[in-house]
């Protein structure tokens, strides 16, 4: 709330989605691919199989060119983007889990070194040394997943950390183990989805054997993914599940996402089993692309669902999606949100945020919007606020009023206990916090958006209240 304002036209969520989803696809391939490549080379050595060796070699080139370049840069990129769209959240995570990330980094060093050495030493070192480096790569990559999984799941289900604020209480949280099983399964799905392409280059007579080998790992990945996913659902607290499961599910978008990802998983299973196991001779580039797209769709859908179920929080029960801390609601209601947001106040031309008398209400409202709403809503783009506005100004006012009342619900919850989202009118939105004047000004700004030329009105408005 108190950081400089930086909002992208397409919305921060979209930006994070692009960077994070493409990163996790590549990063999970880096883990599963490591296993599949090391296992393939081991098999090739045992059976003295040239085609399997070639599969491992070509696979390691993909590993070199995609995970160690795009994957590494976008991994850092997630920090960059998080620092721009949610600096308070990434700061909270880093201050709690810096040692977790530092530990992960040590395995990352091994992983990168092993990947580079592995590729560079094909045909130059003994088989035993080479395959050992392949296994070292996989173990390091998987342990980095084991560590980062704790930090990711902490955000959704912080568990006992909310009371104790202890590292391991948050790390081994209620969704840690199901998520680890799920992500290990996804890593194998990604490995199959990527490695089916170099497998297509195998000699025609050897191709069925190579495809079946990949298919075997795909089946293991499917089993782990399905088990992990449903375990993950059951491990979720009721308050989060209510958003997308059961008759009373309140977020249609998440309900649809769940259906989508389950259909995508089923499609991955059908296509994968058919082209890799049942009819491996029929495997061609288009079928490989379909398999990859289905697997990516499942994973992307799961990531979308995971992010969505965290609403309205960034760190559940601790920090809302706009960076507001649950513990700060009372203070911000008393002092005003612009008193906490000097950059927004400055942008609105307000020199003393505690006294808004004389300030332009639309500009103040715009500033409040930037602080409280713009983390999720754009004006016209993704989750655009303008299409959501009705023509009836009292409706806008009522919605904001309800969101303000919700602040009391959050304030009244026991510190460190999960918010009872079921009882909220807008369980997926952070409460409105701030003074009455700020609330009224936000309503004025929103109403101005519904008027012709409203998008530029906030910038040009020069009137005082």
């Amino acid at each position: 709330m108190d950081y400089p304002l930086w909002h992208l036209g397409i919305g921060g969520g979209i930006l994070m989605g692009i960077v994070a989803v493409t990163h996790v696809i590549v990063a999970h391939f880096a883990v599963g691919g490591g296993l599949l490549i090391a296992a393939t080379e081991t098999m090739a050595i045992r059976k003295q199989d040239r085609e399997m060796r070639e599969l491992a070699r070509r696979g390691s080139l993909i590993l070199l060119l995609i995970p160690t370049v795009y994957g590494v840069v976008t991994g850092v990129g997630i920090w960059f983007v998080a620092g721009l769209i949610s600096p308070a959240a990434i700061s909270a995570l880093i201050h709690n889990y810096v040692w977790g990330w530092a530990m992960e980094w040590t395995f990352f060093v091994i992983e990168i070194a092993a990947a580079l050495i592995y590729w560079a030493t094909w045909g130059k070192v003994t088989k035993g040394v080479h395959v050992a480096i392949g296994w070292i790569y996989f173990v390091a990559a998987w342990i980095s997943l084991v560590i980062i999984n704790g930090i990711i799941t902490f955000m959704l289900t912080p568990g006992d950390w909310l009371q104790t604020h202890k590292f391991w209480d948050g790390f081994f949280n209620p969704t840690y183990w199901p998520s680890l099983v799920l992500r290990t399964g996804i890593a194998l799905l990604m490995a199959a989805a990527f490695l089916v392409f170099p497998a297509l280059r195998a000699k025609v007579e050897a191709r069925p054997q190579v495809m079946r080998w990949i298919g075997l790992w795909l089946v293991i990945g499917l089993a782990l993914s399905a088990t992990g996913y449903f375990w993950w659902e059951s491990a979720m607290p009721d308050e989060a599940r209510v958003l997308f499961l059961g008759e009373g599910a309140v977020l249609p978008a998440l309900i649809a996402t769940r259906s989508f990802l389950l259909w995508a998983l089923a499609a991955t299973a059908v296509v994968g089993i058919v082209i890799l196991l049942a009819l491996p001779k029929a495997a061609r580039l288009p079928t490989a692309i379909i398999l990859a797209l289905a697997a990516f769709a499942f994973f992307g859908g799961y990531e979308r669902l995971r992010e969505g179920t965290r609403k309205p929080f960034l760190i559940h029960d601790y920090m809302f999606s706009n960076g507001l801390l649950v513990q700060d609601i009372k203070t911000v209601n008393q002092e005003g949100v612009l008193s906490r947001s000097p950059w927004a106040a400055r942008a609105a031309g307000v020199s003393d945020p505690s006294d808004l008398e004389g300030a332009d209400p639309v500009k103040v409202g715009h500033a409040v919007f930037q602080v409280e709403c713009a983390a999720c809503h754009t004006v016209n783009g993704y989750q655009g606020i303008r299409p959501l506005l009705g023509e009836d100004p009292t409706l806008v006012s009522a919605v904001i009023e309800l969101l303000h009342i919700q602040a009391d619900d959050y304030m009244n919850m026991d510190p460190g206990h999960r918010a009872n989202l079921e009882n909220l009118t807008y369980p997926f939105m952070p409460p409105f916090v701030g003074t009455d004047t700020e609330r009224e000004d936000l309503v004025q700004y929103l109403i101005s958006l519904a008027e012709p030329g409203g998008s530029s009105q906030a910038a040009q408005s020069g009137g005082a209240r």
Partner: protein, 378 residues
């Protein structure tokens, strides 16, 4: 409002360790990062200029040098990024209040760094795999592109560092983000890094060429290596190193004089000692470089120059951090960040770091000790 009024609140979570520990880790990991970063930036710049001046002539020592640099650069880039993660992590722990605002104030440019990095990385690979650098002019475009992209990244990093160190400039930069380029120390600061990067890369190249030349022997190697080629590369790289270090020293003094915190730097005993050591080492290095005509004839000098470069880099990493501490003293002196050390986790990290380095060392040793060819090879 000035930048100090606009500082975000301290993160309420206490630091999971004492500040000195994070300062130490920040400097240590930044030093590791800057070692690889210098090879990436300086090596690519040097390789691009060598390739351009040779005009892709086959067998020319400069095109061979460019090919060699690109050969190691793809590994260098990977480790530049990998070692960059740790200081990025620790700087966020220590400087949450100033680092995030700095990146936000030039948010689009900061984000653009990622795009530049991806393209820079891939263009390096394109040069390596497709550029055929020793067989004509091909690949020059990719190499020059990579050099330009890495230089732009250096520009962004310097800008963010300047903004993050000077909250008093934030309002001006918020209104006119490009004004950061007008900071009096921007250009000298940027050049300081660029000259340093080129200097180290040149020293590594010269050292490598000297080793190759001496192992090849007077009559040439069994596998057809040419000693004269390595001698030419060594002399060429030596001249680069000499020029870069000379410019680095001149620029360094200029930078020092322009630093707003120069007085603080010179009057704080620890800072003054470290800086003096750095200056003495730099001047000594310059003298060492000027006294050698043919580095192949004086292999000890090549090793000494490289060792001195690395030592200067370590010293300058410390000085750079001390400059930042002095810049931010008006901010940090008003705040008291709580700490709740997680010693167990720190020890676990330290042990894992040792294990990681040992594993990497084992892999390199195993590869060197178990070469194989033909059917015996993987």
């Amino acid at each position: 409002m000035n930048g100090f009024d606009l500082l975000p609140a301290l993160d309420p979570t206490p630091n999971p360790g004492p500040a000195w520990l994070f300062h130490g880790l920040l400097v240590l990991t930044f030093f590791l990062h800057v070692l690889f970063m210098n090879l990436t930036l300086g090596g690519t710049l040097m390789a691009a200029l060598a390739q351009l001046t040779a005009r892709g002539k086959e067998g020319d020592y400069r095109t061979v040098l460019a090919a060699r640099m690109s050969g190691i650069n793809s590994y260098g880039i990977a480790f530049t990024i990998t070692t960059g993660i740790a200081p990025l992590l620790f700087v966020q722990v220590l400087y949450q209040q100033t680092f995030y605002p700095a990146t936000l104030l030039i948010g689009s440019v900061w984000l653009g760094l990622l795009v530049l990095l991806i393209f820079g990385y891939y263009t390096s690979y394109l040069y390596k795999f497709k550029g055929a650098p020793t067989k004509g002019f091909g690949g020059t475009f990719w190499l020059v592109s990579a050099a330009v992209l890495f230089f732009l990244i250096a520009m962004i990093q310097v800008a963010v560092n300047l903004i993050h160190s000077q909250p008093e400039t934030w309002t001006a930069i918020s209104d006119h983000p490009w004004s950061v380029l007008g900071d009096p120390t921007y250009a000298v600061r940027l050049l300081h890094f660029v000259f340093g990067a080129v200097g180290l890369s040149a020293a590594v190249t010269a050292w490598w060429a000297v080793r190759r030349a001496r192992s090849t022997g007077e009559g040439g190697g069994e596998t057809g290596e040419r000693r004269d080629l390595d001698e030419d590369i060594a002399r060429y790289a030596w001249r680069w190193a000499l020029a870069a270090v000379f410019l680095q020293v001149v620029d360094g003094f200029l930078f020092l004089l322009m630093l707003p915190v120069m007085t603080g730097l010179m009057t704080t005993p620890a800072s003054a000692i470290v800086l003096t050591v750095g200056i003495v080492l730099a001047v000594g290095l310059l003298m060492m470089l000027t006294r050698v005509r043919n580095p192949v004839e004086q292999p000890g000098a090549a090793t000494g120059v490289l060792a001195a470069m690395v030592a200067i880099l370590a010293v300058m990493a410390i000085t750079r951090h001390q400059v930042r501490v002095l810049y931010l003293e008006p901010v940090t002196s008003q705040l008291e960040r709580l700490s709740a050390p997680q010693w167990g986790n720190f020890v676990l990290f330290a042990v894992l770091l040792v294990v990681a380095l040992a594993t990497v060392a084992w892999m390199i040793r195993a590869v060197l000790q178990h070469p194989a060819t033909g059917d015996d090879a993987a």
